[in-house]
Amino acid sequence: SLIIGVRTGNILHTTQNAPEPTQESLKRSGPIRSAVLDPTKTHLVTLADDKLLKVWKVDGLELLHERELPKRPTGALFTEDGQTIVVADKFGDVFRFPSLPSTPAPAPALETSTDPSQPEPKKRRRRKPKPHPNPKTDNPPVPRDSLISHASTSGGTLVLGHTSLLTTFLLTKDVKEGFEYVITADRDEHIRVSWFPKGYVIEGFCLGCTQFISALHVPSFAPSVLISGGGDKSLMLWEWLSGKLIGEIPIWEKVEDYMGVKVKPYKGKENGNQKKTREGTEEEEGIEDEDKKMEDMEPVENGGEDQDVDMASLEEKQGEEIEDDEEKVLVVQKISTLETPDGKRWILFSVVGGTAVFLTPFPQSESSTGDIECIDLGKPVLDFVADSQGLVWICVDVNWNPEVTSQAVRLSKIETDGKVSSAFTFYERLVIDWGRPQISEITSGTTPEEVSSLDLYSSLKTLPKRGGGDDDGDGGGDGPAGPEKGKMKSKEAVKKALGNGEAEEERQVKKQKPDQSSHSKE
């Protein structure tokens, strides 16, 4: 870890000089995937490839404590008051933790306190507007394993969960009342708006995306607007409280030219193959007892589902890579907005494996869409940050296409007309200083194995859904002619009774509707 002063370019803090236990902890956890500052910029949270939540003091980069998380985290945020850390995990759950853990929790009481900095017992509270606690209707003690499917750890409290890989989330407030909300997005095209901290109350959904969502942003100059991006070829703009879609910005045409990293796609066959064989044998056992066979479908534990149902690993198991040409896959990585001193408003975004940061004016009305400019870096963008002066700090993957050298961190400035300049004289010294031996040693001192193990572009393969086979199979359908023929008997009878005209009509109606309005994962 490094913290570098913006003005001087000097390394202010580094963990290279940290005490042994901290160094050990860092080594064990692996590369840092995410780092977030609290609102006062005095504390830092880092997440790595393990299940630890680490909190540091910025001054001196002192590791304050680490806590065990229930599952591997995908992202963390501080609440506005800095008192709570909210963590999303690979399984699809969001938990919250007090920023600084206090001493072990007192025995759970029936009434709860509203102070989030105190560790809470592991159950959610029911808040009834009753003046006096009534022993008859208050919560009975929770059986130990009642939350076992979404167990919390380290004093964490479950906020909410998706039945899908949770890709990104943010915390926000509504303009009118100032209530807090958490907006979560997943691989199954859902953007969900829930109360915070009572994440179990869903305010609504922003539905309409046809692919996974991987980036969310609420502009500070337009706090009722949500911008989302993912696999869809446009960014979407929503009025997030009502769920209404208010704008779309097509991006693929521009972005396509800057897709540096390409991947061989998975072809979704997944577990279907195994299960089909098992089903086949069941079929062959003979259809003796008509009713019995159906009734005997007792819950048989499925051998094929042996592993822990971790969303990410399950979805990564999809299919084998086939020797296809490499494809350009769109995964929006990050969305940000900026209001430059001249009052102009911009949306900035990057895509996974893309070699540019893109820039487009924030739409003033529903129909207006400006051109998309880009800051071309020639190397895949890993992350970027823009400040209020229009300065954009961009971190690139220097190890990609190593024949072309590049600094690891680049600087750009957005001029008033939206054009971009690659360096700005006042900060030139900074840019040059990145080449200082000390820093370049740190940034480039990695072996190719280490670099590939970072797996920086894995989402290009794991996020898109490839039309899977039915894993419950058309066991009766593809199989012996008997069941199909048998089904046809009743279908024929129905057709005959209706007279062909009506049956045709019915089929026509059915054919039209799904095309217009539904998803087909073929």
């Binding site: 699809g92 509203t114 959610r124 029911r126 009975p140 929770v142 009642s146 076992i148 499917s149 979404h150 479950l158 969960g161 039945t163 199954d188 009572k198 994440g199 179990y200 109350v201 609504g204 539905l207 997944e270 577990n271 089903e279 259809i287 007892d289 008509e290 019995k292 159906m294 005997d296 819950p299 048989v300 534990e301 499925n302 589902e305 822990d308 149902v309 969303m311 979805e315 039309g467 899977g468 039915d470 894993d471 419950d472 066991g475 069941p483 048998g486 089904k487 008997k489 009743s490 009878a493 129905v494 009774a497 209706l498 109606v509 509707k513 309005s517 539904s518 998803h519 087909s520 994962k521």
Partner: protein, 260 residues
């Protein structure tokens, strides 16, 4: 459980109306489908994108929408029982298994035709089924507070503790069920597996947006026929009867809570 020995007599002849109905033996299906994986499923982009006339060609015309949803409806026994009792209410079954949902679809079609052409039985125009993964896509079908009843009848118990997260009642999914149910709406659960009953009951009890409602209260509200159908009308329910098992009912009402 011993299997019944099939007699050597051929099955009895089916009359015309019965011939319209599908026969289960042609719809074999293993009991499980993994709700976490991607199926080749059709599902709507959002509730506004659903054309309910496809499901209810006669009754959805005036913009009517389903109010009852049977999650994991299996062979449709509950819906078939409830349809004539609530002829003005649209009901939808959701079933993830392709063969089973196909069977129910064919069954409903058969009933509708029998009513129209032969004047037999109830019209069944108010009941339909969709093959869907309710655990993932319930909010795609139903808008906020659009349902008045949700049914979870004899759900898959997923006995092993590592499979508990696949259970249809979970602390995270309850938020979605509360979202689609209007305040005052009822969740009906029933199972013959005591452990699952305790699980569902405690999860619902501890969920701030649900409060328990007793069978007595439900009957007093005039919902006794629904409770009876929940107990007795499904294949699972009948099987439990035959095996002299116990059924445990647990019902909850959707309530509202305040911000703080």
């Amino acid at each position: 459980m011993t299997k019944r020995k099939r007699s050597s007599n051929p099955p009895p002849e089916r009359d015309d109306a019965q011939k319209l109905l599908p026969q289960k033996r042609f719809y074999r299906q293993r009991a499980h489908a993994n709700p976490f994986s991607d199926h080749a499923l059709d599902y709507p982009k959002s509730p506004e994108h659903v054309d309910w006339r496809v499901h209810y060609p006669r009754l959805a015309a005036e913009g009517k929408k389903p109010e009852f949803a049977d999650i994991g409806c299996g062979f449709g026994g509950l819906l078939i029982s409830l349809a004539p009792l609530y002829p003005d209410t649209l009901m939808l079954g959701m079933e993830i298994r392709v063969q089973v949902s196909q069977y129910v679809q064919d069954r409903i079609k058969g009933y509708r035709v029998a009513h129209d052409t032969e004047g037999k039985g109830f019209h069944y125009q108010n009941v339909s089924i969709v093959r869907a993964n309710a655990m993932k896509f319930l909010p795609n079908f139903f808008a906020k507070a659009s349902l008045s009843a949700l049914f979870f009848l004899f759900p898959d118990p997923h006995f092993k503790s590592r499979k508990h997260k696949a259970r249809i009642i979970s602390p995270t999914l309850l938020a979605e069920y509360a979202y689609v149910l209007r305040p005052g709406g009822i969740v009906y659960t029933i199972t013959d597996v005591k452990d699952l009953h305790e699980w569902m009951k405690s999860h619902l009890q501890n969920f701030p947006l649900f409060e328990p409602v007793s069978e007595e209260d439900l009957r007093a509200e005039g919902k006794g026929d629904i409770v009876d159908a929940v107990r007795n009308s499904t294949e699972e329910g009948k099987k439990v009867e035959r095996n002299k098992g116990e059924k445990w009912l647990a019902c909850f009402r959707r309530i509202e809570i305040s911000r703080d």
